[in-house]
Structure formats: structure tokens, C-alpha cells
């Protein structure tokens, strides 16, 4: 009998959960989170899930990447997965095939090349002008521009920078942090499990071979990468919230006050029930959006905005309730709940706030309901 995608996902989930549990990191215990071993990510094949099989990858889809993202969220893992495997591979897969592209894809899959993609990660519809420009005559192109909150930028070998070429066509420029005129500055954030960098390019010389062309529809490439990032973060938030609900329920079963487990009190029980309802609705939105993005459906952006808006906000509610129901112990550094809370709050803002995504959804109603009708 052929294994169904669900069976494959269950197996991947089981393996990932086991490996991440054994990678030995404890949330909260230490002063700073221990990153997931990069060798582990590479040897498990997770970095190259979406890399074609001919290039050392698994030839899988975003559906499988989503499983890994969910598991990384569950343990609030610190890793460069978002930059390399999600955005990096996603960006490279949007390009026309070339030696440079294929080499980099194979490098990412093997773990030997770490990359970050310099896409906008804040609010906004992404349709604005690229913040980087490629200027100068052919053979003497120079890259200028700057952007903040670039995921994983301080720890990479290569940066992929979407930029407008002199004809204003979006292209992807491959640069190295060591290039003259390029600076990558660490941007420390409260969520110590994530790393961000500010990337500034001041007339960086770019050889022609480093100017990579998007395949079909270059005009939508950057928005597609933003959507991919938004959904990746939503998958992470679902894992974060799921882990915190489980921790809260386990605690409420054993913590006793007034001679009974606190989970037997309706105030606690009903709060947990609300957390489960929100997670259950959120999971459906994630499943639908992941499938839609993996298949490149026309309405994928709508599904992504729904998933990001709902789960981004719900995860903060769930983790906040988890801290509340853990009581005093939940507020300690040692409990580690704070790490999940900071990650959930950061995720909510990263790649568009719930408000921003709902604005995109609402544009459809305003467009269809003409004034004066």
C-alpha cells in the first residue's frame, strides 16, 4: 500500500520531535538558548527538503517544511532554518536555473552554505518599491540600499538581496557579508531564540554572475517570499502554542490548591478549553494555507493571510494564558514560559501583523462592494 502524505508527515513529525528532544536544549534553564546543532539539521535532510533531488535535496514540498517548522516552534528552537531552508531555498527555487543557483541550492541542502534573504519582514503589502537598487552600466553594477530585521542575517555565508535592476525589474542579487561596502549588524531582540540583522549596502560591486533572474512573474516574486515567510512563522506559532497548552494542562493536573488539582476548577478548565478551540481552528487554517502555498494556488495569499492573522494572534493569547495559569512559577525565568511568550509576540509582528494581514483580506470586500449600492 502506498503511504499517504499524512503518513509521511506523521513519520517526519515523529522523527523531528525525537531528534529535537535529544538535541538537549532546555528552554529557560540557561542564560541563553543553545542553537540546534546545524549538523543535525543538515544530516537529517531538513535543510534540503525543497531542494530538487538532483541537487542533493529531498525533492519534497513546503508541506514537509511546515512539519519541521511546527516542531521547531514546539521547542522554541534557535536555528537558522528560517533564513536558509525556508526563505533561501524558496527564493532560489523562484529563479531560472543557473550554475550559481544550483550550486547554492546544493550547498544549502548539505549545510555548507548558510543564507539569508533580505525581504521586508514588517507591516506592509510588499508591493512597495524594492528597498535595494542595482545601478550602473552592465559589467559595473552596484548594489545600494538597506533593510532591518533580516532573519538569520548575522550568521550566514551569503545574502540574497531582492533589488530593482536599472529597468526596475526585480532580480535577486547574491552577495557575501565580506563584500566591500556591505555591512551586516546584529539586531538583538528580546526573543533570544531568533537572530536578526540590519543589512546595508553602499555601492557594493556586483559581478554579472551574481545577478540572478526570477523565472516567471518577477513582479510577484518578493510578495511570494513574504507570504512564504509569513506562513512559516505562523507554523512556528502553532507549534509554540501547542507546546504551551500541553505544558499548561500537564501542570494543571498536578498542581494542587484548596485540596484539589487546579485543573478541576472551571475557571482553569474553561480557559484551557478556549485555548484548545483556538488552536483547533488555527490548525485548520494552517493546513489549508500550507497546502495552498505548496500547490501554488491562485488564492494562496488569502489563505496565508488568514493563517498568519489568526494563529499569530492566537498564539500570543494561548501563551499568555499559559503564563497566567502556571501562576507564580510561570513568571519565573526558570520556567521558560517567557521564552515562548517572547517568541509568540515576535512571531505576531514578523512578516506582517494580524492587522496588516486582515487589511489585505478586507481589500477584497471593499473591491467587490461598490459604493452607493
Amino acid at each position: 500500500m502506498t503511504a499517504t502524505p499524512t503518513d509521511l508527515h506523521d513519520e517526519l513529525r515523529r522523527v523531528a520531535r525525537g531528534l529535537l528532544a535529544r538535541s538537549g536544549r532546555e528552554v529557560g534553564g540557561g542564560t541563553s538558548p543553545v542553537p540546534v546543532d546545524w549538523e543535525l539539521l543538515a544530516s537529517s535532510g531538513w535543510l534540503g527538503l525543497e531542494v530538487p533531488e538532483g541537487l542533493e535535496g529531498a525533492g519534497a514540498t513546503f508541506e514537509e517544511v511546515a512539519v519541521v517548522l511546527h516542531e521547531l516552534g514546539r521547542v522554541a528552537a534557535s536555528s537558522g532554518y528560517l533564513g536558509s531552508a525556508v526563505l533561501g531555498v524558496g527564493a532560489l527555487n523562484l529563479l531560472d536555473a543557473s550554475a550559481a543557483r544550483d550550486e547554492l541550492l546544493a550547498g544549502v541542502a548539505a549545510g555548507s552554505a548558510r543564507v539569508a534573504v533580505v525581504v521586508p519582514t514588517g507591516d506592509g503589502d510588499g508591493a512597495q518599491e524594492p528597498s535595494f537598487r542595482l545601478e550602473g552600466a552592465a559589467g559595473a553594477r552596484r548594489l545600494s540600499g538597506e533593510a532591518g530585521f533580516v532573519p538569520d542575517a548575522p550568521q550566514v555565508d551569503y545574502l540574497l538581496v531582492p533589488a530593482g535592476d536599472p529597468a526596475s525589474t526585480p532580480v535577486l542579487v547574491l552577495v557575501s557579508p565580506a563584500d566591500r561596502g556591505l555591512t551586516v549588524t546584529d539586531q538583538p531582540v528580546l526573543d533570544a531564540t531568533r537572530r536578526f540583522g540590519r543589512v546595508a549596502a553602499d555601492r557594493v560591486d556586483v559581478p554579472e554572475a551574481a545577478i540572478l533572474r526570477f523565472g516567471t512573474e518577477p513582479g510577484t516574486a518578493v510578495q511570494r517570499l513574504i507570504d512564504r515567510g509569513a506562513l512559516a512563522v505562523a507554523c512556528d506559532s502553532l507549534g509554540v502554542a501547542e507546546a504551551m497548552l500541553e505544558a499548561t494542562v500537564a501542570y494543571a493536573k498536578v498542581r494542587r490548591q484548596f485540596d484539589r488539582p487546579i485543573g478541576s476548577f472551571q475557571a482553569v478548565k474553561h480557559a484551557c478549553a478556549d485555548m484548545l478551540v483556538a488552536l483547533t481552528i488555527g490548525r485548520e487554517l494552517i493546513v489549508a494555507a500550507v497546502r495552498s502555498l505548496a500547490r501554488d494556488d491562485a488564492d494562496a495569499p488569502v489563505a496565508v493571510s488568514m493563517a498568519k492573522a489568526y494563529v499569530g494572534a492566537a498564539a500570543v493569547d494561548v501563551v499568555g494564558k499559559a503564563m497566567q495559569l502556571h501562576g507564580g512559577i510561570g513568571y519565573t525565568w526558570e520556567s521558560g514560559v517567557h521564552a515562548y511568550l517572547k517568541r509568540a509576540v515576535l512571531n505576531r509582528s514578523l512578516f506582517g501583523s494580524p492587522r496588516s494581514h486582515r487589511r489585505r483580506l478586507a481589500g477584497r470586500y471593499v473591491a467587490t462592494a461598490a459604493p452607493g449600492e
Partner: protein
């Protein structure tokens, strides 16, 4: 095209040809008799197409696949077809009970009759047995080949038109409360039954009290074993929840959302509410939640078919739907403003969302209270879904 696409096209064409044009206006502020006649006619229309009881087994007149049932309800919702209200208890609760626990004779007697229009109601709740249903006090005493029933039932939906009633009554007063209850099929024409309508918050009277004064029920109309009624009721209550919730969620996602956007697009002295970012944000919240709920309902229907429904799943769906419905109707009433208060009647045969916002909002408590209130659902979700400990019983130490 797949077979399912073909089926969808068939249903669409059927809806275009058969959903009565202008039925909403025609069914607003009408006499009870007209509503009943409309319901009966619509049921027979659906029956002729094979769409009235798609969830029943084929041998009894149903037999659509789960995927086809989903498509059917999606299309009926998309075409804003009238809901089956009068026959609701019959085709869902009564049929599920008979199919799961009834005798062959009981099925042969009632299932074809339901297709011919036999109307059922449910006699479960009592004045002193609401959320704590198992504490019911109506008694059924064995007397020869019959039971003699005495007591009072409350909140029987549609009882004024019912031919038969699904009845829970206590047959063993000494047993623990869940173990002394039996399940009966009661003919509503039996002497000793007095049905009195209850006027509800909306001003309508869809529910009734039923007074039972030494009503004789033949022992052949017992469902399952004597004193096993609680188990029968629990097993069959959830059986219809998947599909019913799917239909309701589809309706909320179609007409409900569409009318809400239309209400927001109506100009007021200070412009269209739809141009207000706060309103846009709220509409997007609703659309997102309803999209997740619709997907969840499809999953629940499939889980029913596969026998993999989790203990809390129906409660999650019921709670999410009820509270979303209530918030959407609240918002509709707020946006529609004073003019909505002049709509004194809602179209009968419509869903809980009908575009008469204030009445819809008032009527939304019909979802958050009956069938296990939202508070009861949260307790079920906490205990059966998450395994949290039960509350200690009163007096226990």
C-alpha cells in the same frame, strides 16, 4: 471533471431550478399554517431529488457519499435554499436513534413515514433538568405490556406540529441517575399529552412544554433495553452533529458573511461603514474564523464516517459556531443600526443568520444555551479533550 465535480454541477443546476425565488420575502410575517405547508412542500421537493436524507443508508432512501453530502450542503447554502426546520428532529435525531438502537420493526414503521412527512420532537429537558439532564424526573412505570408516563418536558422544539416524540423517562428511581433512564418513542396523539407553546425571547414560539399525565406507551416502543436510555441518547445525540454543523457553518460562511458585507456597504450619513478600517478589520476576523470553522466541520464529518471522532470534537465545533454566530449577529445589529430595529419579523425557514440583524442577534442565544450550553461545552472540552480532572462532587471529600 471528476465525479464529484459532476455531482456539484448537478446540484447547482437543481438549485437554480428548484430553490423558490423570493421565498424569504414570502415567508416573512406569515401564519403558522403557511410556514408548515412551505416546509412540507420543500421537504418533498428535496426528497424527489434524493437530497432530503442524503445521510441515511441507501436502503432507507439516502446513500450519498460523505464527499457528496458535503458538496450538497455547500451548494444548498451557496444558493440560500430554505432550511429543513420542521423535519429537523425527524431526519437527524429520530433517524439516528432508530438506525443505531431501534428494532427492525421500529425502523420499518417510522423511517418511510418520516420520508412521507412524519414530524418528530424531542422530550429530553425538564424544568429541573437542564444542563444536568440526567437528573430528569419524568417517570415511566411498567404496567403489563405498557409504561405509564407522568411528568413534564420543556423546550421541545416543534412539538406543536409533532406526530411523535423521542422521550427520556426514569424507569428506576433507585438506580444511580444515569442508570435508571429509558428511551421511548411516544405517539403525540396518545391521551394525557398536553402541549403548550413557550414564547421565546424573539417573540416566536418554536418550543413547547409537554405535560404528561398517565400517558400509556406500549413496551414495543422502548428503544434499547430498559434503563439503558442514557447510553442510547448519548450515542445518538452526537451522530448528527457533524453534518448539521457543516450545513450551519456553510450557511454562516455564505449568506451570513455576504449579508454582513452588504450591510456594511449601505451608506449612512457619515459614509459607508465598510470604508472604516475598524469595520474592515472585524469583517476579516469573521471571514478568517468562519473559514477555519468550515474546514473543521468537513473534518468532523469525515471523522464520523471513519469512526475517529474525538470525545471533545463535537463540543469544539458547537462552541466555536455558537459564539462566532453570536458575535457576527451582534456586529450586524451594531452596523445596521436603528433601521434594523424596525424589522419585526425574520423570514421563517431561514438559518440563524437571516439579515434581520437584531432578531438574529437575540435569537443567537438559541445556540449558546440549548444542546449543552457554552459552559457545559467548555467543561466537556476540558475533561474529554484535555483530560483535566472532574470537579469534586458536592458533599464528597
Amino acid at each position: 471533471m471528476t465525479d464529484l465535480d459532476d455531482f456539484r454541477a448537478t446540484v447547482r443546476a437543481w438549485c437554480d431550478a428548484h430553490v423558490p425565488a423570493g421565498w424569504r420575502a414570502a415567508q416573512t410575517d406569515v401564519a403558522e399554517g403557511e410556514y408548515v405547508a412551505f416546509q412540507r412542500a420543500w421537504f418533498q421537493e428535496l426528497r424527489r431529488a434524493g437530497y432530503a436524507v442524503p445521510h441515511w443508508p441507501e436502503e432507507w432512501g439516502g446513500g450519498l457519499s460523505i464527499a457528496e453530502q458535503v458538496v450538497l450542503f455547500q451548494e444548498l447554502a451557496a444558493h440560500d435554499a430554505p432550511r429543513l426546520v420542521l423535519s429537523f428532529v425527524a431526519i437527524h435525531h429520530a433517524a439516528a436513534t432508530l438506525l443505531a438502537a431501534g428494532t427492525d420493526e421500529q425502523r420499518r414503521r417510522h423511517l418511510p413515514a418520516i420520508l412521507d412527512g412524519e414530524v418528530w420532537c424531542q422530550g429530553f429537558s425538564e424544568p429541573e433538568a437542564g444542563s444536568d439532564l440526567a437528573s430528569l424526573r419524568t417517570t415511566a412505570r411498567r404496567l403489563g405490556d405498557s409504561y405509564v408516563v407522568k411528568g413534564q418536558k420543556l423546550w421541545a422544539s416543534g412539538a406543536a406540529h409533532a406526530d411523535w416524540c423521542l422521550l427520556l423517562a426514569r424507569t428506576d428511581a433507585d438506580a444511580p441517575k444515569h442508570e435508571g433512564i429509558s428511551y421511548f418513542l411516544m405517539d403525540m396523539r396518545t391521551p394525557g399529552i398536553d402541549v403548550r407553546p413557550i414564547r421565546q425571547a424573539t417573540g416566536d414560539a418554536h418550543f413547547s412544554e409537554i405535560f404528561l399525565d398517565d400517558v400509556l406507551i406500549p413496551a414495543s416502543q422502548l428503544v434499547g433495553a430498559e434503563n439503558d436510555g442514557w447510553r442510547v441518547a448519548r450515542a445518538t445525540l452526537g451522530a448528527e452533529r457533524g453534518l448539521v454543523m457543516l450545513e450551519l457553518a456553510e450557511r454562516l460562511g455564505n449568506g451570513g458573511l455576504r449579508w454582513l458585507v452588504e450591510a456594511c456597504a449601505r451608506p449612512t450619513a457619515e459614509g459607508r461603514p465598510l470604508d472604516d478600517p475598524v469595520v474592515q478589520d472585524q469583517l476579516a476576523r469573521f471571514e478568517t474564523e468562519i473559514t477555519g470553522l468550515r474546514a473543521l466541520c468537513r473534518r468532523l464529518v469525515e471523522a464520523h464516517a471513519a469512526g475517529t471522532v474525538g470525545g471533545a470534537d463535537p463540543s469544539i465545533v458547537k462552541l466555536a459556531y455558537s459564539e462566532l454566530l453570536q458575535r457576527m449577529m451582534d456586529f450586524g445589529a451594531d452596523v445596521a443600526g436603528l433601521p434594523a430595529h424596525t424589522e419585526l419579523h425574520k423570514p421563517l425557514s431561514s438559518g440563524w443568520e437571516s439579515g434581520t440583524w437584531v432578531l438574529d442577534f437575540v435569537g443567537s442565544w438559541e445556540w449558546t444555551i440549548p444542546g449543552g450550553s457554552s459552559e457545559i461545552q467548555r467543561t466537556i472540552i476540558g475533561e474529554r479533550g484535555l483530560g483535566l480532572p472532574r470537579e469534586p462532587a458536592v458533599g464528597a471529600r
